[in-house]
């Protein structure tokens, strides 16, 4: 009997052992998967930061920024809030914000910035005027009409002024490095402007 009991005990020991090992393996697999997925999120979450240009920069904390776009059935530009890891440098910050504005079109929203538009460069003068040099898509992609033109210009101006009320006081839009009189033939944008 004692031999049988020993066998049973040793079997129970083996079963419990196998169970414990399985649990440990499962936990390890789950933890591995979680850590892997976290790595993926952290790789995708922040916008492409120019690390090479600023190798000494620390990863900035995310900040909330309002991007002004149009609801599909709306009549006015409305702000949608996004989180961006913004740089301290004003020029870089404008580039990040405008890039987010150009790319952002959630469901049920219309972006008044024509598709394909790229912000080539940003220049800021001593009078706190930002010169935003866009690609020709900004004017070529206009659908015509004073309202559409106003919405495009207002979306850019409102987004930048809202994010940097102290740093930027006026904005002039350039196309491919040149001053332009208008985007679609109605609104005069030949000078720096504000609301």
């Amino acid at each position: 009997m004692s031999a049988i009991r020993r066998i049973i005990h040793s079997r129970l020991f083996v079963i419990w052992g196998i169970t414990l090992v399985t649990i440990v393996i499962c936990l390890a697999v789950v933890l591995l998967l979680i850590s892997h997925s976290k790595q993926t999120i952290t790789q995708d979450a922040p916008p492409e930061l120019p690390w090479q240009a600023n190798p000494t920069d620390m990863l900035p904390d995310p900040k909330q920024v309002n991007l002004f776009i149009l609801e599909s059935d709306g009549l006015e530009l409305t702000p949608i809030r996004v989180e961006l890891r913004l740089y301290e440098d004003t020029t870089e910050r404008i580039k990040q914000i405008i890039s987010a504005l150009v790319d952002e079109t959630p469901t049920n929203y219309r972006n008044p910035i024509p598709r394909g538009t790229i912000l080539n460069e940003v220049y800021i003068d001593t009078q706190k005027t930002a010169y935003l040099d866009f690609s020709h898509h900004l004017s070529d992609g206009q659908i015509g009409g004073t309202t559409a033109e106003l919405l495009t210009v207002s979306a850019i101006l409102k987004t930048v002024f809202d994010a940097m009320p102290e740093e930027i006081k006026h904005i002039q839009i350039l196309i491919d490095g040149e001053e332009v009189e208008t985007l679609a033939g109605h609104l005069n944008i030949s000078q720096p402007m504000r609301f």
Binding site: I143, S154, N188, S190
Partner: protein, 390 residues
């Protein structure tokens, strides 16, 4: 007792719903009367009888003549109205209207009727009879249920008392193969609509004695500078640029007016130059005419409000379309080609005529206002010089 209450509850509920619904319908159905200035004279509830709008006879009192009197002779079902020194007799169920003093008879397409315990007049009565009683034009807009009573004496003939002929420059936007303007989903181009409206305006203006110049009278491309030069060379007194609008939202609709103001809702950085300052040069720019442009735009706004469901929006922005014309100037966006309702309206020749008519009325009202003030100034100058001579 409780059982009875429960039994009668559905009936009670039905009565409440029926009364509220019918009451709601009655309240919503009104005709709005507006005067020549676009001010509301009265909102009158109407009754729809066999698809004809009928109004109470005493509407005449609230919208046309506050001193109107009437009598109703029941056996003959005859209504007699005394207004503006004339006696009008109508019989219920009969289409003829007798204007007594002149023995003139008008035949209406729909007869007056006795409805809901009172004599009611069909809408055509107001359109046909009121102009026979006074110096007025009556315009009815059935889709908006609006009637406008416009005094003819307010409208200038184009040649003023000061013997000045008004020259109106109409600028149909875009044109040619390269510059189509905006386009509707069903393939209507802005350049074609604005040219139609411009030509209609030209015809109506010429009939009234105004001199009219179009910056383009066919489908050709004209640069901004060419348009400005043309307008300035012809020394117009008004510049009206016609365009169609478009938006990223399909819900944007209606007519919009814009004035060129570099310090409007969007402001240029450069400080305004004191154009009329004593030490500065008297440079001619659009900014010199901003106040006159505002005056004309507000007259135009009231005229166009009559055609529009919602109030017409007037905005001031740096508008390049009006930048270098040296006269009062307004940009009229006739409707949105991105909105299906507006496209349907702009495709309707009747609406094109109405639009042109509204703008031409505004020109008449504005020009007579300006001429009147010029004449008054001239008279007061003459009076003061006469006093000095004495």
């Amino acid at each position: 007792m409780w059982l009875n209450t429960f039994n009668s509850f559905p009936l009670f509920l039905f009565i409440i719903i029926f009364v509220s619904v019918t009451h709601g319908f009655a309240q919503g159905e009104t005709v709005r009367f507006v005067d020549g200035e676009g001010e509301i004279l009265d909102e009158v509830e109407f009754i729809l009888h066999e698809n004809v709008v009928y109004l109470p006879f005493n509407t005449i009192k609230s919208v046309f003549d506050s001193e109107m009197t009437h009598s109703y002779y029941t056996p003959l079902k005859q209504l007699t109205i005394n207004t503006k020194g004339k006696v009008i007799k109508v019989e219920m169920g009969k289409s003829s209207v007798i204007i007594d003093s002149s023995r003139q008879t008008e035949t209406l397409t729909n007869p007056p009727r006795f409805i809901q315990g009172q004599p009611m007049l069909p809408i055509i009565f107001f359109q046909m009879v009121l102009p026979k009683l006074d110096d007025v034009t009556v315009i009815y807009k059935p889709e908006l249920q609006r009637i406008r009573i416009l005094k003819k004496s307010n409208l200038d003939s184009g040649v003023s008392d000061t013997n000045r002929t008004w020259t109106i420059i109409i600028d149909p936007g875009h044109g040619g193969e390269d510059d189509l303007g905006c386009k509707s989903q069903n393939g209507i181009f802005e350049k074609d609509i604005v040219l139609k409206v411009a030509k209609e305006m030209q015809m109506q203006c010429k009939n009234l004695g105004f001199a009219v110049q179009l910056t383009r009278d066919q489908d050709v491309k004209k640069s901004r500078e060419q348009r400005f030069q043309y307008a300035n060379r012809h020394q117009g007194q008004l510049y009206i640029s016609l365009h169609c609008n478009a938006s990223f939202s399909q819900n944007h609709k209606g007519i919009r007016l814009y004035l060129n103001n570099p310090y409007g809702m969007l402001r240029f950085r450069t400080a305004p130059i004191p154009i009329f300052g004593k030490k500065s040069l008297n440079i001619r720019t659009q900014a010199n005419f901003l106040n006159q442009s505002k005056d004309f735009a507000s007259v135009l706004q009231k005229e166009l409000n009559f055609l529009s469901e919602d109030s017409i929006v007037l905005s001031e922005f740096p508008i390049i379309t009006l930048n270098d014309v040296y006269m009062p100037a307004v940009l009229v966006e006739l409707g949105y080609l991105s909105n299906t309702d507006d496209v349907a309206r702009l495709s309707n020749p009747e609406h094109i005529t109405e639009l042109a008519q509204a703008v031409v009325h505004a020109i008449q009202l504005y020009s007579s206002k300006v001429d009147q003030s010029t004449k008054t100034n001239k008279d007061s100058e003459e009076d003061s010089s006469n006093i000095n001579e004495r």
